[in-house]
Symmetry: D2
Subunit: 366 residues, 4 copies
């Protein structure tokens, strides 16, 4: 049951990197939501491999197949099963790696967990490719949130030590898709591209950070004490391969602040309660406070690098060395941006439903 997430809006993930397909089942989406195949496909295209020089050349079309739950262009309240077929899987290079786990990958941990019986080809279930299903489900979540005026936007805020300055919501909305690294601050984006190219040329890889902002949620969304907005978003994001740290609002910086600095003072703004700063990232006590929810998560560099690495031969239980020659992203951040957006949207759609913000049937009084 560990391949499902959410309480009311519940996503079940399936598929492997080199199996027949990757997909997802979305259960709990209210009836009456208009489903636009073109919109879901556009989201898929954002994480599709081979989209630019800074991504892997694996040539997948990632064409959406909508299997159930939609009738006459709208959701029916039934589970929405979706998948894309795997077409360009090249498993030839993986046999050699079956017993020599790649450092930084899940190979060894998975081998221990599944007694060596997991599908190891291309990382199997641990491949970034499974996030195809997350993005499809996230597209449904984004459409659902849009129906109540909630918007989720993610963008690259750091790559290989190159940090973007803060951007406005409008800049994020308009510029993120303009440059393949998905950083809305264009001069920084150009430096990021350059940094990736340098690392790639060296057979190495880079990490980075993705920021995400969600607007339009009223105060009081969340389910304390355990199903907090922060906890549920963090849990969802740690399912994205390579994430190692998650922060809300001022994040780790709060540790060196004083209370008088960190506390966001309440003000009245256009007749509504707001705060004059947002160090708390829009969440207090696990509940939204009406301010934008701001998230930042750190991605490690792609573990697949072309340089020789030390490992262990699990069959012989002796030292070994490997050099990887697959098709990899030199930095996962650009393609992770739509995935972060998807995961945050999935969590917030679930919480919006739990809070009763979204009716059980859209376009109905119920």
């Amino acid at each position: 049951m560990s391949n499902s997430i959410g309480t009311i809006f519940r996503v079940t993930s399936f598929g492997e990197s080199h199996g027949r397909c990757v997909g997802a089942v979305v259960d709990g989406c209210p009836a009456g939501l208009r489903i636009d195949d073109v919109f879901i496909q556009r989201e898929l295209d954002k994480r599709r491999p081979g989209q630019s020089g800074v991504t892997t050349p694996r040539g997948e079309e990632d064409q959406l197949e909508l299997l159930s739950g939609v009738f006459e262009g709208h959701t029916t309240g039934a589970p929405i099963a979706m998948l894309v077929w795997n077409r360009d899987a090249d498993s030839s290079k993986y046999d050699a790696l079956r017993y020599t786990p790649r450092p930084g990958h899940a190979d060894y941990a998975a081998w221990a967990r599944y007694g060596g019986l997991n599908d190891h080809r291309g990382g199997g279930r641990f491949s970034g490719r499974i996030t195809v299903g997350f993005v499809m489900a996230g597209a449904v979540a984004k459409a659902l949130l849009d129906s109540v005026g909630v918007e989720v936007l993610a963008y690259a805020s750091a790559i290989g030590g190159v940090e973007a300055p803060e951007v406005t919501l409008e800049e994020a909305r308009e510029n993120t898709e303009r440059i393949p690294v998905r950083c809305p601050h264009i001069p920084t984006a150009e430096k990021m591209v350059a940094a990736i190219e340098v690392a790639k040329a060296a057979g190495d890889s880079l990490g980075g950070e993705v920021s995400c902002i969600a607007t339009g949620l009223p105060a009081g969304v969340g389910q304390p004490v355990f199903d907090t907005i922060e906890g549920d978003i963090a849990k969802a994001l740690f399912a994205v391969p390579a994430v190692k740290a998650i922060e809300f609002g001022a994040g780790r910086q709060v540790a060196s602040m004083r209370g008088s600095e960190a506390n966001d003072p309440y003000i009245l703004h256009e007749g509504r309660v707001a705060t004059s700063s947002n160090n708390m990232g829009g969440v207090l006590g696990g509940l939204t406070d009406g301010m934008p929810v701001t998230i930042r998560c750190a991605f490690k560099p792609t573990p697949s690098i072309s340089l020789p690495q030390c490992t262990v031969d699990l069959a012989a239980m002796e030292k070994a060395e490997i050099e990887l020659r697959g098709r990899h992203d030199p930095c996962v951040v650009p393609r992770a941006v739509p995935v972060v957006e998807a995961m945050v949207a999935i969590v917030l759609a679930d919480h919006a439903l739990r809070a009763g913000l979204i009716p059980q049937v859209l376009g109905s009084s119920k």
Copy 2:
């Protein structure tokens, strides 16, 4: 249902800061675990208020009441209900605050969530006092993990910008309880105490960081893709009031590393697979890799400060100013240390059970 956490080892929290009691029900603990009241009480004493000059003077004895699930000194497999009675609640100062939410507290968000019907006294369900229940449940989890050789240790690693250098496991084990701030590096601990005293004198408060290390887990524990070790720990820790950021291993630093630096090379160590560094914090692909699980989380400064603060009067919908005169910790970190330890233990006990590491009946072949 949001007041329960865990899949097999499941903890349900109840109680309020100024209600009759705070407590927890632990469901799913195997039969046959020896329950030592003295051990649970000792854990409670670590987070008890009034234990030192750096904590709140609220005078609670926090005496454990074990209500069910234990027979002849051992768990029976039945739910373990536990509570402590609230004795020293002083609600007099909270009436004035009912409609003027304290900045940095959950007051306003809770007011929005519950239509103003929540128990606001002392923060009610949003008070740090509810972590009494977490610590009781965590003590059971720690005993259960101890039965299979897993140890969880937390300590203060930063307070008010004063950072501790890295410590060994032995230093953490021996020194953490020696100084009230719970930092095992004694010279740093002394600086932290001084920093707290300065902030307190100024009517202000400090944030900080808690580090936690879990040892003894074999490789392969965890339930991908959503019930990851990192995700479940993060979710549990964000239920602890004041946490704003969570990192594993090298954490946010991975964002500026290259793959060749970040990847932990595999080695053979005493006949077993290990890694020569631990940037991944003992988790890959959501699964343990056999190395210690290392966690770091950032706490914001106590929002209750004595300085005047801007807020809004929710009844009149107009600007207001408040000054707080309650009994508060100038820094929550020292008392948060046992709480972090408890939450991590609760998650790992659950995952150890899910992985089949712990039998359903202890002291039995089953």
Copy 3:
């Protein structure tokens, strides 16, 4: 985690027959529900032992202790913990039974499940006494359902082969509490009392049936395909000790009907869709159809009888004979009536919340 039931309105049960207490935590009850201690106590009194000559003489007061979740007479949205202390437990007779399981009781199955480590005294967790917690939680559920016009009524419909004719809702409402066996058809009730007295005099016990009717639910409540109204009620009722069969509407009789008899024709009744018969018991496709939900469940005779019975000595693994001398109900049905009502109410409260029939804050527009 098996001691919790429900998805939004979630009840966690704890306590043992001869431990310190029995209780429940209700999580997910909306804020703003008026909680009337007297009402909950009255529900408890209905299942209290010693209430009449047809029940066990164990002398418990079963006084409600409300521990959390209620403030100023209303629910707050926080978990509601409740318990009653055990006062009159007499464990003296149970030591002799520790290794000679009583036929018809859970003793042997529990011994196998918990390796002999369960609290065996008075049946421990398997005692009918744990239904005290169900009744307390059910009282909250009944109050919540009442706020949206849903009523749940149970009564004894058969005892020891004495069957009651069908009664109207009004008869059930008015007569059920008039005679200790809780059968609203008075002449039948008197025969049932006589039958119980005969069985009791013979040292034997009787089974029977409880009927339950829930009115006021609109059509369309339920969550197919697995969280059906029937399935969730059945699961809840099988947690009540001694239930062996559950039927909805015409129940088992449908098996020998033709489609043209069984189908309930749709009609218009006072401007609303209704059916002219109710063989389906108000549920179709797992959803309510707007007609009363009608349930019938069969209880086995109390397994504790004074006659000698064959068993096995689990320590010596040899044949044994036992005669029970505890204080037992000669027929559980009269005291099971409020328990059935409670379980059905718990399930329907959960489904009413899931269907959005009940707002998250009562007395608010939210």
Copy 4:
């Protein structure tokens, strides 16, 4: 989330009667289980339409498509997604029925639940066709149970008032598939066929009962107090369209027994504890007692009949009459037999995993 069932072995159902496909995702199956496509296909063939004169002529091949979770002939521990494509859906007759709900069907309840937005064609999600997914998932569960010696067998025990005498396990195993009605008592089976033909000729339909027996479970499987063997089986079976009553062991008959008759005395049999009768149906206190688990469930007659029926026009809100001309089973029981078997197997596989009877990796020491 209501389209998933199970705690560790968790099945998610998707698809509609006249959509593109029907399917299931099985999550939580241990790695290392040999998956035999031919075996799953054979199970599907048992419930396939058009298999005999007593079933619907809808001509589906129901060819298994295994999408994920299997590698080199074995499960990998990853979710197993499976589907069959719908080929012979004939939706032409359903437009006329969109606003005139068929008596005995879920049409009206679904219309109320989903605001008329559900896929009504062929009953959509409420069609018996969704049990294709149950049977595929059940086949995996049966294979898993087989690995630990647990067998689940179902058969028709009554149709249209024709009741079969009790049969031995061997008779059930050998004869059930010999006659299309799936009653292992051949002379009774012939009478059942005749009864179905009479009803069919009259444009009417018949109900019946399915019995199921599960052998090979040790004592002590189950998770009291709420996740009982009986409760979880009942919940699963009420998801099968047309089930209206469920009984265990002597079932409803216990209500008119005395304790001295109903109690199953313990005996020693081949050195193990057993009972000399099985009125309890192998379950006590929600736990298995080591005896076969025996279940009986009642199916209502197929609601689709060719006779004219009264209904309501939901658009005009006025009386209406309908005559159905689709392709229907005159009695669902024969094709329900493999579905009951599947559901019971799914629940028992889950409980066997929860009890630790089945390791997390098959063919491994773990």
